[in-house]
Amino acid sequence: MKSVRYDAIVVGGGHNGLVCANYLARARQRVLLLEAADQVGGAAATESFAPGFRVSSCAHLVYLFDPSISAELKLADHGLVWSAVDLPSVALSQERAVLSISSDPTLSAGEWMSGEHKRFDALMARMTRFASVLQNLYTRVPPRLRNRRGDIVALVQAAWRIRRLGRDDMRELLRIAGMNIADLLDDELNDDRLKGMLAFDAVLGTRLGPRAPNTVFTWLHRLVSRAPAAHGGIMHPLGGVGALCDALSRSAQAAGVEIRTGARVESIMCDADRVTGVRVADGEEIGARQVISNADPQQTLLSLLGARELDTEFVRRVRDVPMAGTAAKLHLAIDDLPTFVGVDPEQARGRLVIAPNIDYVERASNAIKYGEYAPQPVIEITIPSLHDSTLAPPGKHVLSAIVQYAPYTLRAGWGAHRDEFADCVIAVLAEYAPDLPDKIVERQLLLPVDIEQRYGMTGGHWHHGELGLERFWMWRPTPGAAQYQMPVEGLFLCGAGCHPGGGVMGLAGRNAARAVLATARP
């Protein structure tokens, strides 16, 4: 056996890897973080896509990043500045005025149907209570269904938290948890624009349409940001999402984490069911007692570690995790601000959503089932340069759009259809901002397959694997691997593929660090 140099090696410097390494270092572990790219951040990066234009390559807003992590890791001290907080969400509409909502209900504006405002607030208040229960689960290592004290206590606590909502709320939560978002919204609200936008929120990053059961859960996942213990609001870091990772990186280094970029881990080594270290691309072997992987579960287990060290049924389970991404990113460099019809300048700073009604979202989702792209996609638009001057040359702007649904594998092959799809998206954008096409200087389309290639996320899936009621908590990424610790001793996962999933959150990293430390002191 080779001499052990590090207590822990973190493979991959995405935000979760950085968070995990940081917490381990704070617990006096000797930590090495290895990142294949030349900069840390993984998919939470800000990159240049045209001369002078920079953009957040994947996630372009931050909702869910846990404020306690920000505080504990002192990210503000390490350079994190928010260029905007509490950005409004604006539902674009061709027939009617746009509808704008923000986390502060009093700011709500636009044309509201009578009483709709009240209904919306009541719904959100209830959903926020539910999201708090979820938020609490999110900050903990999931228990296992077995007869051990810690597990039983955790299960009883979770049940008690649901019970403590009160009988009515508990009943409602147990009813709607597996329900589809379309029915819930139709039951509670009337405004098509509002329902369309909320339905969009529920299905963002998934392969489901709003009529698919379990989409209330995926909505709750996003609403965790509204839980009192979370931050509450849509934010944008100055310098793009990559700036968050820069701060995380500085904080980690300050805590003693050794960060090596340009070091692609080729394999995770193990001996007799125990991890011994990693081998990097140049052949160097680095020993460590523990290896924590920020890569997705399939890549970590089947590629880096290898199926040989695992059991067959477990390998099947990992193989069966749906990994195909459904969201594409369109980046536009524009030489002047486009005019979104009916959107005032304050609203334009926020996220503009093209999802005019539930049926529109549902129709868009049909395509993904058959390996086609949505000809009328749902789109979330931000123009971050409106509040962040670091992203574009003066007077010019960056438009960043998340476009759904785009399959990982287009049945007809992406080749020639890539531009066709980009044109299609721009045509839809032009329906809401007719002057946009003329202002485009440069465009970049990142399909799931591109995201896979750039950031090494299997399938190009934001969440490192489909997120849903059947794949959360004890089921994420798969039973037998849901407590961050993998079957091979000393190997852990810390990425979005684990509980609580994706969306720049950081909780998977912190939970994983806790799981690592729990095994370190038996």
Partner: protein, 395 residues
């Protein structure tokens, strides 16, 4: 013969023309989707022929997988509980494989045909498991069942018969070894293996040679008392030999509806097939944990008073406390003992001195319950020196 599967679900084996002609009883059963004779003439004759002369048993329904490729050995070592690295070319090993939680999926025999080529023979089909276990390995798993016709030639005179067949070079063939032999311009594989616990061979040929092989063997065996044998007699032989049968003595873990029905190799008394020193294998972590604790069950051989077979009987301590059940039982005409294989709850060693078997017996249409004493005895119940003698005698 060639009716579609929905009219004739069971396939004929390559020996069908011969086995059908030899079968006087019209007793057939399905075995892995093939027609298999249960009995050709009389179970007792066939049984005694196997213990006294020799018998020919149609082994073709056995499921066979060819595993070939540069990763064959690491693959098999990850799949099987025993160390396949110790298996030399030309040798055969009895082996079991487990699921993730260390419960046995099936047992079988593994032939090492070449450095990177193996043949796995099992009673049941396992293609998905074998294929999914190959994820991350460079090799090919192929169901080659239909490429082989197979016969088991078992019994004291079996060596004399293969000699008469002109198969050279078998004199030095030790138990669990195999050789290629020339036969009518082609090659056969002859292995010194079998399910009878006696001297015997298994012969693996191409299907198109099946009929001539049967005829030649029957002719060569005419002077040595060779007769065809069906599965009913084989069942008696294997119990005497103390071999376990999946779906009779234990439930293959993936067939069980109740998770608790799976059995680990330790619980089946097959701990000697588990090697923890060869690196990772499927179920290793679970089995290590089990070894550290204790299994829930233990398999034993029983010698039961009287001569009434204890089929499906329950086993009691001091006639009162239920501590297990019989999985296979018979009156052994060779050992002249009433024997059984039984599963007992583990950790009951102190009780082994006072065991009782409850036997339900129909005497002229009237049922009676017997409580009969039994003792734990070592398996195999029947283990003649000729099984291992190399070179074998003509007997």
């Amino acid at each position: 013969m060639n009716e579609p599967h929905y009219l004739q679900p069971l396939l004929p084996t390559p020996f069908h023309s011969r086995t059908q002609a030899a079968c006087c009883t019209a007793l057939w059963s399905g075995w892995a989707g093939y027609q298999s004779a249960r009995c050709y003439t009389h179970v007792e004759f066939e049984y005694f022929a196997a213990r006294n002369q020799a018998t020919l048993f149609d082994l073709s329904p056995m499921i066979k997988y060819r595993i070939a490729g540069s990763d064959s050995l690491p693959y098999l070592n990850r799949l099987m509980t025993r160390d396949v690295g110790k298996l030399a070319v030309g040798r055969v090993a009895y082996t079991v494989w487990c699921n993730d939680v260390g419960k046995v999926l099936d047992d079988g025999t593994l032939f090492r045909l070449d450095d990177n080529e193996y043949l796995l023979c099992a009673q049941d089909r396992h293609l998905p498991w074998l294929q999914d276990s190959a994820i991350g390995f460079d090799l090919e798993v192929e169901d080659v069942s239909e490429r082989f016709a197979a016969l088991a030639l078992q019994g004291p005179t079996s060596y004399a018969i293969v000699q008469r067949m002109g198969f050279d070079d078998l004199m030095s063939l030790r138990p669990f070894g195999w050789r290629r032999v020339k036969y009518r311009g082609a090659e056969l594989i002859v292995s010194r293996t079998g399910f009878s616990g006696d001297l015997g061979y298994e012969i693996w040929s191409a299907p198109d040679q099946a009929e001539s092989l049967w005829d030649d063997l029957m002719a060569a065996g005419a002077d040595f008392g060779l007769m065809p044998m069906g599965s009913d007699a084989l069942e008696l032989l294997r119990i005497e030999a103390g071999y376990l049968l999946p779906n009779a003595d234990f439930m293959p873990a993936d067939h069980a509806t109740r998770a608790s029905r799976g059995r680990s190799p330790f619980e089946l008394g097959l701990g000697w097939l588990v090697d923890f020193n060869k690196g990772h294998f499927v179920g290793r972590r679970a089995l290590q944990a089990e070894r550290a604790g204790s299994g829930r069950y233990t398999f034993v051989g029983l010698d039961i008073d009287g001569n009434k077979p204890a089929h499906e009987s329950l086993i009691y301590h001091r006639r009162r406390e239920l501590i297990g059940h019989v999985t296979s039982a018979m009156w052994s005409p060779t050992c002249k003992r009433n024997i059984a294989i039984a599963e007992l709850q583990a950790g009951r060693e102190a009780m082994l001195d006072d065991l009782w078997v409850e036997i339900y017996l129909k005497k002229e249409l009237k049922w009676e319950k017997l409580m009969v004493r039994c003792r734990v005895v070592p398996r195999p119940f029947f283990d003649p020196p000729r099984r291992l003698a190399t070179p074998p005698a003509a007997y």
